[in-house]
Symmetry: C2
Subunit: 448 residues, 2 copies
């Protein structure tokens, strides 16, 4: 089947699922996701040239031939995602939107009808959905501006928190749950079953909204790794939702929340798959900061609105590990080069560690020396010493990618991406086990 | 007072108004608007160079010295507007957000508290507000992409309709008022007091959402005219809201709707004033399509959510006139050059009409000839004939700006902008008179 025909078939299938005769929202969501996938696949190759003309392009450093390819394709993903989510609104609320009965013929009749509709419609569900879209759209805009103007770190750090305000307000008026349950074994000591964190809980959620987009953005630099990790993350979080949906005893409220999370995540999986088709090694397009912010925010929003922001961080353990590992370089204890991506060896065609070089600085500051020795002791970096004097010559960069290369040896770029994805998958399985097997044991009343 | 000190004073005043001790939302809205103004004024000069570096720049054609100046400053306006509107949310819902009583200590207690808050909070108001922001943000994104990539006409025409979907869904669930009142004198003939337009009314509102952003975008090309017309439009629509708020007998629902409209429009007035400081003749920055789309959409959203989308079109009469006047050129009856802006005369320093030239095409198509003769008969364009043969040599471009120049003669660029603004003001006064003096007479029961 020609690729054109295939696309038409996929569009047709997507529209058929969207308008499914059973009016099932989850089936419509699958339809929307299919449309999102095929739109992304269709659009990306068409806009590439326009992007390059506008300066959205980059050199692929990890190739023998350093080609210029279009960047910031996350814009296409975010845009397609956003349009699909908007188009989905009437399908999501279909059963409340079908007009009932004949229309009144007097103004008073209309006023009564208005009240009847308003009291019948689940405004709080629409509020959640719109707040989610608003946060995702504003973070995507931030991503575009960052790709355009290279916004300074201190300016862009807090903007996700502003983007999260609608979410937090919605969280407040929807439930304002700010407590955490105490594990059963600890309850006798604390003499209570829950601990209220109050405003700290909102600060925690704002921190999640800041962390998720930025953390995906710092595991970057090799073909497909941004989209690859996001894909695995999104699928694992979807599985988490499905496990809640299928297990007996889940309350109606919890079912609603996990469905909402699925509606947000399925189109993300779809656009990411479409993007990976072109971004997988050897990449024909780059994703840009826009994609990382966008994907991270969708995950954060799903976690916050789905009321599983604590579980969410379990899935983000590789990103947390990478962040902690990066601290010495992010906070200036160890010099941080502009890029910390691994080094391409043109002879073997494989990737190897990139290093921070100290050959020209014989006297390292104490903080640098201590950080390096500590992280080496923890086996997180590799350090090379001058054989005679024992002076530090160079050490690997403080990233999870260099950590993997240091322990697993040089490898081809796509294999490295697969290792990161496999790690993400393993962590996801652990998180699911923790949440669905261990947690119900540790907490007598599992908060469904 | 130095400009720096002045800015600090304005920031201080804005914050003081925002946190006003009476918790009045309208005062907070004024505070937010003040912050929006001073942020716009501070930001625009700082980002100019970065914009030029990224290719957001244009040549000012109506000057002797054709300087390159930064374009697309609407991005700054839209971004400042958006951040201010997000920050405003907690202040808007302050009285519902203040926590009442001590927090519960059991999970059941929390669940009851959750229900109490949810039943107490005006979800429908938050839905309206979020849908408004979503539509405005998505149209701004469309503007940015248009400024970046020059999106094709047929692609960008329908996108505002997608951006309007959240608005229309909210309109549906909030009131679904799709009827128009019949003027008292016509009621005996139609034997009814209202006529239900049903789905046509939604198509009308989608058309408003498509028309407003695009119509501001086509009265363009001279310094300050895009921001100038938007400023007058926004102020006149604000006056319309204020007249509804102060007149006796307005229902609580109507007060809410017109306040919402004010909350949306006041920050627009503010960012536009800030923009005009740099965009006024002789311009130091250009506004870009982003600004036109953004400003037009804020007005459309205010009209739709404020339930005065019909009145809104009265204020847009100059834009409607310009659109009708442009039809022969937009639809290819008369050749349409890339730009239809007036021509700068370097000798006088004044602007004069720009023309469509026919000297090389002796045999005009019949449709072109007819259009030109009709529009000349209506005194909308000026035509020059060859004295001997009577053949059409050239005619002025079909825009309101050329129409004004043809009738009022050549003038300086800023005076022409002022004429457009004065016309917009006159139309606004007429619209207010029509809505607040004539309409209550024509409709016995004025739908407040």
């Amino acid at each position: 089947m020609s690729s054109r025909l295939q696309q038409f078939a996929l569009y047709g299938a997507g529209i058929a699922l969207l308008f499914n005769p059973w009016c099932l929202q989850l089936v419509s969501a699958l339809g929307v996701s299919l449309l999102a996938y095929v739109s992304t696949v269709t659009l990306i190759p068409r806009v590439g040239d326009a992007f390059i003309r506008r300066g959205f392009s980059g050199k692929d450093m990890n190739k023998a031939e350093k080609k210029i390819i279009p960047e910031t394709m996350g814009v296409v993903c975010a845009l397609v995602y956003f349009i699909c989510m908007i188009v989905f609104i009437p399908f999501l609320f279909y059963k409340y939107l079908v007009p009932n009965g004949v229309k009144p013929t007097s103004e008073v009749g209309w006023m009564n009808r208005e009240r009847a509709i308003a009291s019948h419609f689940p405004h709080n569900h629409l509020v959640e959905y719109l707040a989610a879209l608003l946060s995702i759209l504003s973070i995507s805009l931030l991503g575009i501006l960052d790709d355009l103007f290279d916004i300074r770190w201190r300016h862009k750090f807090f903007l996700p928190a502003i983007a999260a305000i609608p979410l937090l307000v919605v969280y407040y008026v929807d439930c304002d749950k700010t407590y955490v349950s105490v594990p059963t074994v600890l309850r006798p000591f604390l003499s209570r079953s829950i601990v209220d964190l109050g405003v700290l809980y909102y600060m925690y959620m704002a921190a999640v909204a800041i962390f998720c987009p930025n953390s995906i953005n710092i595991i970057a630099g090799i073909n497909g790794v941004e989209a690859g990790q996001s894909l695995v993350l999104a699928i694992m979080v979807c599985l988490n939702d499905v496990l809640f949906l299928v297990r007996p005893g889940t309350t109606t409220d919890a079912i609603h929340l996990h469905l909402l999370s699925l509606y947000l995540l399925l189109p993300l999986v779809a656009v990411t798959l479409g993007l990976l088709k072109y971004n997988w090694w050897p990449s024909r397009v780059f994703v840009g900061d826009t994609y990382c912010y966008f994907a991270g925010m969708v995950l954060a929003v799903a976690g916050i609105l789905g009321h599983f922001s604590k579980t969410l961080l379990l899935f983000f353990l590789p990103q947390i590990f990478n962040f902690v590992l990066s601290i010495p370089q992010l906070f200036g204890l160890v010099p941080c080069p502009r890029h910390r991506l691994p080094r391409f060896n043109p002879e073997t065609g494989l990737l190897q560690n990139s290093y921070v070089d100290f050959t020209d600085t014989p006297n390292l500051p104490k903080k640098t020396k201590l950080s390096i020795l500590l992280f080496e002791r923890l086996r997180l970096i590799k350090v090379e010493y001058e054989p005679k004097t024992g002076r530090i010559l160079r050490c690997t960069n403080f990233t999870i990618i260099n950590f993997l290369l240091a322990h697993l040896g040089t490898m081809r770029e796509d294999h490295l991406t697969m290792v990161v994805m496999a790690l993400q998958f393993g962590v996801g399985v652990f998180a699911l086990f923790f949440r669905h097997v261990l947690a119900p044991i540790a907490y007598r009343n599992d908060n469904l």
